[in-house]
């Protein structure tokens, strides 16, 4: 059906993008001959790293049809969008020579349509279809819904042979401002585990056999597949840990086929990587450095994590202030008397347990006076209310361990809330030998 197009180029396209044959064929069928009119707009959706943008750009380049690819995150204002499209169509690249300027200055849709139409008639090329690809289309829609609706019917508004392709991760139902024009929808399904394995094996580094790399990748997938299906993340992990995986082979300790030994070597590293998935707490160089030191499995893993999430050491009173703030946030004010008064107040009847744990609902705001009252109650020695204590409160706010509610210019009745999590507070309490659980309302 498309004998005009380069057959060789197509074969390369199919081999570079495996498991997308059906999508390529559908798109090629929709595009048809270059001079035929295509459908007015196509909407492509699918998860991250399912090959949407890469396929559309590669296909349009292989077919050698006039096209413009716009990333809606880059072009965050309408004028950037319009000028990018016009520049691309007139083969003008902003460079140092022309002062990074565009050919036309265009900031409203009316002028854009006029210039677009005149450009297309100039370039003509016997009326070939021009494709405008809008990547991350949801950003355009949330910014300017009417512009989005107008771009969907670009074909009708300009009367030219143009097709708009939208690429997004969200489903079409989330796009509300379409004003009645529905594009043709195309779903890019996610890759199954076997398909992920094949795609990752495409990137086998030179100097190693494909079989060896395949074993490595399947080990990696067995650990990470439960939590992560994102191809970008998996490729990053594969690259990061391959050197460590090969180390026993290069140092002569193990044979290429000795899978058990290789697995034993790489397992602790992968476990650490699993606990910090997506987080990028350490850069790739740091990971490679620490990999050398991580010879013993088991005990060393916790060391690594605490190194990366180092708690800032606090002065002694700051720790008590934090503990006081936590208690003030999570205990209701009425229970303060019971916990912090000197003499034992008579046992009240047990309060009815609320349906949801206060821990789950989040910290509540408390006034500064309450914090100081609790602070004096829990600190053993006599502390004078000097400016020292108050500045420590402010420094806790700037460290984002406390947050201030209310406007910044409000000087009296200041309220705070505590932003520290339960685990961190427990570790702080342990460091000053203060049993916080005894004072928490939810744990009585």
């Amino acid at each position: 059906m498309d004998t005009e197009f380069d057959v060789l180029g197509f074969a390369e396209l199919h081999s570079n993008l495996p498991y997308r044959n059906r999508q390529i064929d559908t798109l090629v069928a929709l595009f048809g001959e270059p001079t035929q009119k295509t459908v007015s707009s196509i909407f492509i959706y699918g998860h991250t790293a399912t090959g949407k943008t890469v396929l559309v750009t590669a296909l349009l380049a292989t077919l050698q049809v006039p096209h413009v690819v716009i990333n809606c995150v880059e072009c965050y204002t309408s004028s950037l969008l319009f000028e990018a499209i016009l520049d691309n169509l007139s083969d003008h690249k902003p460079s140092a020579a022309n002062g990074y300027s565009s050919v036309w200055h265009c900031d409203n849709l009316n002028d854009f349509l006029r210039l677009f139409r005149s450009l297309l008639e100039e370039k003509a090329k016997q009326g070939e279809t021009v494709y405008v690809v809008l990547d991350k289309a949801e950003r355009l829609q949330e910014r300017d819904a009417l512009l989005f609706a107008a771009l969907l019917r670009l074909q009708e508004l300009t009367g030219c042979n143009v097709c708009v392709i939208l690429i997004s991760e969200l489903v079409w139902e989330k796009f509300s401002g379409a004003h009645g024009y529905e594009p043709l929808q195309m779903h890019f399904p996610d890759y199954s585990r076997g398909q992920l394995l094949d795609i990752l094996c495409l990137e086998c580094p030179s100097g190693h056999s494909k079989e060896f790399y395949r074993n490595y990748v399947s080990l990696l997938l067995s650990m990470f597949h439960l939590a992560c299906r994102d191809l970008n993340e998996l490729q990053y992990l594969a690259q990061l840990h391959f050197a460590e995986y090969c180390r026993p082979v290069t140092s002569g300790e193990a044979n290429v086929d000795d899978i058990r030994k290789l697995w034993k070597n790489i397992e602790p590293h992968l476990k650490v990587a699993l606990s910090t998935l997506y987080l990028r707490e350490s850069s790739s160089c740091q990971v490679e450095e620490t990999a050398h030191h991580l010879v013993k499995p088991g005990g060393a893993t916790s060391l690594n994590i605490s190194q990366t999430r180092a708690n800032i050491e606090q002065p002694f009173y700051s720790k008590f202030l934090l503990i006081g703030a936590y208690l003030a946030s999570y205990n209701p004010a009425k229970s303060d008397r019971r916990f912090f008064s000197r003499g034992r107040v008579g046992k009240r009847k047990k309060a009815i347990k609320t349906k949801t744990n206060a821990q789950l609902l989040g910290p509540k705001p408390f006034p500064l006076d309450r914090l100081l009252a609790i602070f004096y109650a829990i600190v053993d020695d006599k502390v004078a209310p000097t400016a020292n204590i108050f500045t420590q409160v402010t420094s806790l706010v700037s460290l984002r361990l406390l947050s201030r509610t209310g406007a910044d210019d409000q000087l009296d009745n200041v309220k705070y809330r505590c932003l520290v999590s339960f685990d961190d507070i427990c570790s702080i309490g342990r460091s000053v030998r203060f049993d916080i659980i005894r004072y928490l309302y939810d744990y009585i």
Binding site: M1, T26, A29, L30, G32, V39, Y45, G46, H47, T50, N108, L109, N110, L113, L146, A149, A150, R153, L157, E169, L170, V171, W172, E173, K174, H179, G180, E182, L184, Q185, H187, P189, D190, S192, R193, H225, L226, A227, C228, R229, L274, S275, T276, L277, Y278, L279, T356, N357, Q359, L360, L361, G362, P363, S403, T405, L419
Partner: protein, 407 residues
């Protein structure tokens, strides 16, 4: 063209309305009357198409062609009145005249333009203003353009005809009092009164190859195939379902595009299976397909949120509640792998970026911590049960958990 047939096959009402509109524009052109009308109809009912066919017909009449200037405006394209005025100036070829003068108010500029037209020698040139997406113009500041246009149509300085096309039934309510009083209140309503028999005929007409097709033999065979297809029971069932959903022709085109594009030398004719397949694709649940691509951890979080919604009667929840629900499950079943809290936060944020959960107040405020913002789950429980069944490789404990509290 198929769309012409649509209008002929409709009830006589449509033909009568077309006639009415035609006479209206003719009056403006020939006898220099001023008129205004609104064409109201739902999306896809053929407003623009009717107008185009009327204008084509009028082009044939020499008197009208010489005396009528057309200005086409669109609410989506001209987003404020200043741009609209420039566009009007350009369409009546008076942009040069306008460029030299600077005017303060809108109405002065507009009157100036119209005067300039008159002084061009032709004293009886009438202008037809076609305003698409009329309701968007009613949202401009002070509705200046509409006010001035209707004002001129009432005061009869220049013979103009203002035609508004809109899909909103209540467009009259949107107009200000002074604009409404100048409008002639002539509303023409178009409704889609296609019967199912006519729908099938439109189906045939859309697919038929015209007589101008170069390969006559193939055209004849193709048309014969289409006729056979329209009597096929499967195709009629699909068309009936589509007709019950949405009568517009655009929807029918959406059904037919892919099968037609995929015909090739190897498969030169459409089959009933193609059309049934295309209908199945149209009705694909996009959210379900996206649920299929989530990782197992994210799926567990969605199941936890589903349980929470059921226990607390669809009250909003926050991340900490979901986390504790997930931990309860993991502690019960030791074979399920547990992950660090930070990794689970990332998985939750991924769900938020896919808009499966959304915070209560729109954008999360910077003051509240992200673990404690209230969220809503935007997936139906039925969709979740479906997704759990279709999910490839979900461990059995998780499947049991998903089904457990649905009693």
């Amino acid at each position: 063209m198929a769309t012409n047939a649509y209008h002929d096959n409709g009830t006589d009402d449509t033909a009568g309305k077309t006639r009415q509109l035609l006479e209206l524009i003719k009056c403006t052109a020939i006898t220099s009357e001023c008129n205004s009308a609104l064409l109201i109809g739902p999306r896809g009912s053929g407003k623009t198409t009717i107008l185009k066919s009327i204008l084509q017909e009028l082009d044939q009449i020499k008197e009208v062609k010489n005396n009528l200037l057309q200005v086409h405006l669109n609410g989506l394209v001209q987003r404020d009145d200043r741009t609209a005025l420039k566009e009007i100036a350009r369409q009546i070829n008076l942009e040069n005249t306008l460029g030299d003068h600077v005017f303060g108010s809108f109405s002065e500029t507009l009157t100036f333009l119209l005067e300039a037209l008159k002084s061009g020698g032709k004293s009886s040139v009438s202008i037809l203003f076609v305003i698409e997406e009329f309701d968007l113009f009613a949202q401009h500041k002070n509705q200046t353009l509409l006010y001035n246009l209707f004002d001129i149509s009432q005061s009869a300085q220049t013979p103009i005809c203002v035609l508004g096309l809109t899909c909103r039934l209540d467009v009259i309510e949107l107009l200000e009092k002074r604009v409404k009083s100048r409008f002639s209140h002539r509303q023409i309503h178009l409704c889609m009164t296609l019967s199912f028999k006519d729908y099938i005929e439109v189906f045939c007409l859309t697919l038929n190859l015209p007589t101008s097709f170069p390969d006559k033999k193939f055209a004849k065979a193709w048309n014969y195939h289409v006729k056979v297809l329209s009597t096929d029971a499967l195709v009629q069932a699909v068309l009936q379902k589509l007709y019950n959903l949405n009568k517009s022709i655009r929807h029918l085109h959406m059904l037919l595009i892919l099968p037609v594009c995929e015909t090739s030398e190897a498969r030169p004719y459409l089959t009933a299976a193609d059309i049934a397949n295309s209908y199945k694709n149209l009705g694909l649940d996009s959210k379900a397909s996206m649920l299929h691509g989530l990782s197992v951890l994210e799926m567990c979080l969605i199941i936890a949120m589903n349980h929470l919604s059921q226990i607390y009667d669809r009250d909003p929840f926050n991340f900490e509640m979901v986390y504790s629900e997930y931990q309860k499950f993991v502690q019960k079943k030791s074979s399920v792998q547990n992950f660090e809290k930070a990794v689970i936060v990332k998985a939750f944020e991924h769900l938020q970026s896919l808009e499966f959960v959304l915070p209560l107040e729109g954008l999360a405020s910077s003051r509240a911590q992200k673990e404690y913002t209230q969220m809503y789950l935007l997936i139906d429980p039925a969709q979740i049960t479906d997704a759990v069944q279709k999910y490839a490789g979900l461990p059995t404990e998780i499947q049991h958990w998903a089904r457990s509290s649905l009693c």
